[in-house]
């Protein structure tokens, strides 16, 4: 991997340029980098499981953000009813989400694997609808949040004070990425999963139980959205429709990174996070920051496609 990158001068140039930009920004307005990186952590943490599903099970999961919000509601319920701390709730939530992933895969998605991609897409759209509206019926549209003292933690460097809790998303994203890369590259099951991702038919021929890989990878990814759901609840309000915009952003990030590429997601997230943060640092231009998000995605996809042509 490393030597492959070094062989391509373009990567080195781009890498150095971005490092230079980040250093300049740090001098000019350090909070741009701080908040940009925090934002990137949230984006990456949510998009990584989606990329995992897309890369191995070959499904665009339009219920992705909704799964995360479902996990957040389960966490909320655990915290509120049993007085658990959200971090203690991580374990049961992850287990429950894993099982939920298995159930949903078994009873719905599995039956559409042979159908065209489009059917799976709309199936997950239906799932998103059922999850959202189910939560709405049980918990109403009223936003909920647990109030936690440590999420207001801050640090002061020189004259700027900034919130530090957001870095927890970076920690989570890094851990999820490292864990997934270890799993996919070093474990037998993970290698089999990669093989399935690259060529399901081939994998089946050499004796890999493709269906088992599918269901376990899907459930694993849903369990990972569970982790993000727990974290999301600590710093954001949850309501049934909250997941939709994260589904869309993850979807865009996954495309920008290259379908199924995990490290690509992290780079794409950092780029987008800092770019958005940069625009927002100009007072009155925050409304345009979302344009940066979508425009960058289009530009990257187009550049990649033109490079691919040659």
């Amino acid at each position: 991997m490393a030597e492959r990158i070094l062989k391509r001068p373009l990567y080195i140039i781009v890498g150095l340029l971005s490092a230079a930009v980040i250093v300049l920004l740090l001098f000019w307005k350090p909070t741009v980098v701080v908040y940009g990186v925090q934002r990137a952590g949230l984006y990456a943490g949510i998009a990584l499981p989606m990329a995992l599903i897309l890369g191995i099970v070959h499904i665009v999961n339009l219920a992705h953000g909704e799964f995360m919000i479902t996990a957040a509601y389960i966490t909320y319920f655990l915290c509120n009813s049993f007085g658990m701390s959200p971090f203690a709730a991580l374990v049961p939530v992850v287990i429950v989400m894993f099982l939920l992933g298995m159930l949903i895969f078994k009873f719905t998605i599995k039956h559409t694997l042979k159908a065209p991609e489009l059917n799976q897409l709309i199936l997950t759209f239906g799932l998103a609808m059922v999850l959202t509206q189910g939560l709405n019926l049980i918990a109403t549209s009223q936003p909920r949040k647990i109030s936690l003292d440590f999420v207001t933690s801050s640090a002061t460097v020189g004259e700027t004070t900034f919130g530090t809790y957001g870095f927890i998303y970076d920690l989570a994203a890094v851990l999820i990425l490292a864990g997934l890369l270890f799993f996919l590259r070093k474990t037998k099951f993970g290698k089999a999963a990669v093989a399935v991702g690259q060529n399901p038919r081939g994998a089946r021929i050499i004796g890999i139980d493709v269906n088992k890989i599918y269901i376990l990878v899907f459930s694993l990814a849903i369990a990972l959205t569970g982790i993000m759901g727990v974290l999301f609840l600590t710093s954001q309000s949850i309501f049934p429709l909250a997941g939709g915009s994260y589904t869309m952003k993850s979807f865009c990030l996954v495309a920008m990174a290259g379908m199924g590429s995990l490290p690509g997601i992290v780079f794409a997230s950092i780029g987008l996070g800092i770019a958005e943060s940069f625009i927002m640092s100009f007072q009155g231009y925050g409304g345009w920051s979302n344009i940066v998000f979508f425009a960058l995605i289009i530009i990257v996809i187009l550049i990649k496609s033109f490079k691919g042509k040659r």
Binding site: Q133, S141, S147, T152, S154, G163, S237, A242, G284
Partner: protein
């Protein structure tokens, strides 16, 4: 070729069945009930509770013998927050359910789509939502049958100016000079800010910046808060949604921004907001709070009845507004002795309803329409997990606490 025919037959059948399904209106003999038709977004807490509160009022009226010797029936249809669905709901209520009066509320976007349809039927309409001045423009000055309860956005802005001037006069420490408003970038926040600048611009220095509400996938306010901190205002206001409430407080604390007065103005609060120590002494705008029960018997009655019937507490002011709308209609029908439109309009014009919201509601002209009900919002403050009203003084449940306590002393 054969398959083409089969499918065509299928289309024909579907068309016929679907029209047949819709054509079916019930015809019941006996005493014809007075029918009220309500349209709310039922999946949203405002619409869900607004419609249930309206049903509560209808139940009470029926328990007391109905109106004009006839029972009252409320037919509720979901607008799904979609303009075309909201408009179709009006069509259904008017032509199939044959309702006598329309009511409903929430979301200017839906209401804009309904207005042409409402104009088509010209039935008496009592609306509890839609604050956007665009909706008033669309309704125009001629609609005598249109009674709008919720203040328009400029009414709200004017009432805040009035309120803050009154507060400044009574509590000189609270007299304010410099404002900073963080507003969500959608219609609600932008209209709030524009009205505020227009009304208050001369009296104080108003700065502002928009943010993406958590309700639409935002939730990171750090940039706006940093700019607010640099501006160092006396009063910091954010105009967003309930989902923004706690994260906004937390991030304000995290960036070390401590304004002397802290105002949040969502249409409703998240259910656990008061539990947070950060909520203490945040001020906000609204039309009703459960603390109203202390000073208003109707509010207390409504609140207890709602809790008893639905095993939940009313969370936003849209809930008592739904209840209010039904009673305003009911009293007018009693006065008019008929549900005939002309007479009912006359009777509604004479409305003086003591509402659970505190004020006695009467109708008078606003900038464009003829019949505007409520014009003022209230200024409320979180004190010990309670939403105490501090202005208008006639509904005051507590004195304001000032200045906003430092984050570290909570």
């Amino acid at each position: 070729m054969k398959s083409g025919i089969k499918t065509l037959v299928l289309v024909l059948m579907i068309l016929l069945i679907s029209t047949a399904l819709f054509a079916g209106g019930q015809s019941e003999e006996g005493v014809k009930p007075i029918k009220l038709g309500g349209v709310w977004p039922l999946a949203d807490i405002t619409g869900e509770q607004g419609s249930k509160s309206a049903q509560l009022a209808v139940d009470e009226i029926n328990a007391a013998g109905g109106l004009l010797g006839r029972p009252v029936e409320l037919i509720v249809i979901d607008s799904e927050f979609k303009p075309e669905k909201g408009a179709a709901a009006i069509d259904r209520l008017a032509t199939i359910e044959n309702v006598d009066v329309f009511l409903g509320g929430m979301s200017s976007g839906v209401h804009l789509g309904q207005i042409p349809t409402l104009k088509k039927y010209k039935k008496v309409t009592v609306w509890t939502g839609a604050a956007s001045g665009r909706a008033e423009e669309a309704m125009g000055p001629d609609a005598a049958w249109y009674f709008h309860l919720h203040p328009w956005d400029y009414n709200q802005g004017a009432s805040y100016v009035e309120g803050w001037e009154a507060i400044g006069a009574k509590y000189p420490d609270l007299a304010t000079a410099k404002w900073f408003m963080a507003y969500e970038e959608g219609a609600f926040g932008t209209a709030s800010f524009n009205n505020w600048v227009e009304l208050w611009g001369d009296n104080g220095i108003v700065e502002g910046e928009s943010f993406t509400s958590a309700a639409f996938g935002g939730g990171d306010y750090s940039a706006v808060l940093e700019h607010a901190k640099e501006a160092n205002p006396d009063i910091f206001v954010w105009a967003g949604y309930a989902a923004d409430a706690l994260p906004m407080m937390e991030q304000t604390k995290a960036v070390g921004f401590e304004p002397k007065t802290y105002i949040g103005s969502p249409p409703g609060w998240p259910s656990d907001f008061g539990d947070s120590p950060l909520a203490e002494n945040v001020m906000f705008y609204g039309m009703w709070t459960p603390e109203m029960n202390k000073i208003n018997k109707i509010s207390k009655h409504y609140y207890d009845a709602y809790v008893k019937k639905y095993k939940a507490t009313p969370e936003t002011y849209f809930a008592p507004l739904g209840y209010t709308a039904v009673y305003i209609i009911a009293e007018a029908i009693k006065r008019a002795g008929t549900v005939e439109t002309e007479a009912l309009i006359k009777a509604l014009e004479a409305t003086a309803y003591e509402s659970p919201l505190g004020e006695t509601i009467t109708f008078g002209p606003s900038n464009i329409i003829q019949h505007q009900g409520i014009r003022r919002q209230k200024i409320i403050q979180w004190q010990n997990d309670k939403q105490e009203i501090i202005w208008p003084f006639e509904y005051k449940t507590s004195d304001p606490v000032y200045p906003f306590p430092s984050w570290n002393k909570r």
